[in-house]
Symmetry: C2
Subunit: 329 residues, 2 copies
């Protein structure tokens, strides 16, 4: 045996041993054995097995994830709404008129009922006051500082701790199998980007979301992207496949959501040729997180529940399918 042969044999052995180790360790340890986990593993094996009928080249392995309620907690309200309300309070000293002007008075009084009555128009006023009128760089700084310190009202933990461990494992498992993972969320794209890479391993260029109009101007000699209060794109419902086309330009092989806002994304993704995977996370775990579906202001899942079975989509039961909900439990 020459040295080169020995080297070759040693490398072959190393590669074999490490592939064996990968095959033997469970990539989804927080998932209980059951139909959901089985569907995920079967799908990944089908599209990654070279020569198989459902094989897909790595460059076309695209998976999209909703964020609120799919990757992290969305109750008692969307995290971005909590951010907006906190911003109103932080900015109030510079806006004495808010003490007597709705919907700001309701925010300052913690009067969620009156705030709810202000409806979408009221919400847009709050978004305009808290999300616009600064540069993209300034907004990024504001979000970064808030997310580093804010805590969830019930769990009393940073929001970024309230991400779902089984979904983190799913993201990593897909990426280890050559998938490119994207967030496709109704939330604001610039609200998510400052922290998605650290928390989910998803870089800013793989985040799709709703956006306000940004204008490029040179202000006092400084090239600036200035945020206006005008809505540019709503990445929800029918908007999600459009956002996917705009940002990704390929139909996802797999799509994960938790509400009817994700219906069209899952419908569009699973309508493609070959093996596809569409899944809804069902919040049915009042003990460890929350239980809600057809009747809620945040993350309503109604039509998705009705149609999943006939469409071949999977319902992930948080209660039954997840061994552990959050990291570091």
């Amino acid at each position: 045996m020459t040295f080169a042969h020995r080297l070759g044999a040693a490398i072959t052995a190393l590669v074999f041993l490490s592939s064996l180790a990968v095959a033997q360790s469970d990539p989804l340890p927080s998932w209980n054995d059951g139909a959901s986990k089985q569907a995920i593993v079967e799908f990944v094996e089908a599209v990654t097995t070279e020569g198989g009928a459902d094989y897909v080249a790595p460059g076309d392995r695209i998976a999209t994830f909703d964020n609120d309620g799919t990757l992290w907690v969305e109750h008692p309200m969307y995290t971005q709404l909590a951010f907006a309300l906190d911003r109103v309070k932080a900015m109030a000293p510079d806006h004495p008129e808010w003490k007597t002007t709705q919907p700001f008075k309701a925010v300052l009084d913690n009067d969620l009922e009156t705030l709810g009555e202000a409806g979408e128009k009221g919400l847009m006023e709050i978004v305009g006051a808290t999300h616009a009128g600064m540069s993209a760089a300034e907004f990024e700084k504001i979000v970064s500082e808030w997310i580093a310190t804010a805590k969830h009202p019930t769990f009393d933990k940073p929001y970024t701790d309230l991400v779902y461990q089984p979904m983190l494992e799913l993201l990593a498992y897909l990426r280890a199998n050559g998938f490119k993972t994207f967030i496709v969320s109704g939330g604001g794209i610039e609200f998510m980007r400052p922290w998605t890479e650290e928390i989910y391993g998803i870089p800013p260029e793989q985040v799709v979301g709703s956006s306000i109009q940004t204008d490029y101007k040179v202000i006092d000699g400084v090239p600036t992207l200035q945020r206006s209060a005008r809505i540019a794109f709503i990445d929800d419902k029918e908007g999600k496949p459009v956002g996917i086309l705009t940002h990704i330009g390929k139909r996802p092989l797999a799509a994960f959501g938790n509400s009817d806002g994700d219906y069209q994304m899952i419908e569009y993704s699973t309508a493609g040729d070959g093996k596809r995977l569409g899944m809804f996370v069902h919040h049915d775990d009042a003990d460890r997180e929350y239980a809600y579906d057809r009747d809620t202001h945040f993350g309503k899942l109604d039509k998705g529940l009705d149609d999943a079975s006939k469409e071949g989509w999977h319902i992930i039961s948080m209660k039954k399918d997840w061994k552990q909900v959050f990291p570091n439990e």
Copy 2:
């Protein structure tokens, strides 16, 4: 010496030899030695040298490239315009009224003067007739078939052969140094995506461009992204930094263009902290390609030429800096 030691020594030697090979081969063989090539290499070494003052982590190494006139030929007219005119001719049998209706009559008569007089309004009518009213998937098929067969009127070669060899080398050199490369073009995003991966190694999700409004609808049971004639976004001039924010969410370290339409992209990119690189390709080579700058309908470079020196941007002379213009010469 144990076997493990021998294996270790062999691997070290292999790694050393291959790094030596990389260091010794010129990554930019089609570039003549000179200020442009030197600026590129110095920039890449500065931002990739760990511990250096200008070091940037791989995830933040973003480079953006205009397409028309920067990566491929844009004269005698933008390739997408040639596509639109060809489409009018191909569709004419189904539109007998075009024989007597402007601007279509001008296209069918090859009367570019009358077509020019129809201005932007006329052009929009042609775009509407040729780029809208079908699904995104159908449009992709139409573009793919056209690009595979159409030929440039002067060079008599497929357009995809008329890409600039030095820029292909630059793309590869940047990627080999941990850069993520993006196209940021005034051209239509869905016109470019079908072929950018094969030609430039840039996948669809890294292509930013102008777009028309697409609507998601279920048509006869088929989830469809349907192209409308309404312009959604113009990725040119002030639009380029906005497109970069929307799609990438990071300020590029390096930006490459060739016309005043790229001015703001280069201005925005080079205004960031640390070492930056902004370059304009100057078409000054009438023998091998074209010579034009301040006075042309396609790819006008005027303000960019005036301001480059004081802004620290580089002008790439096609004539002097490029040893070879096209691949396979």
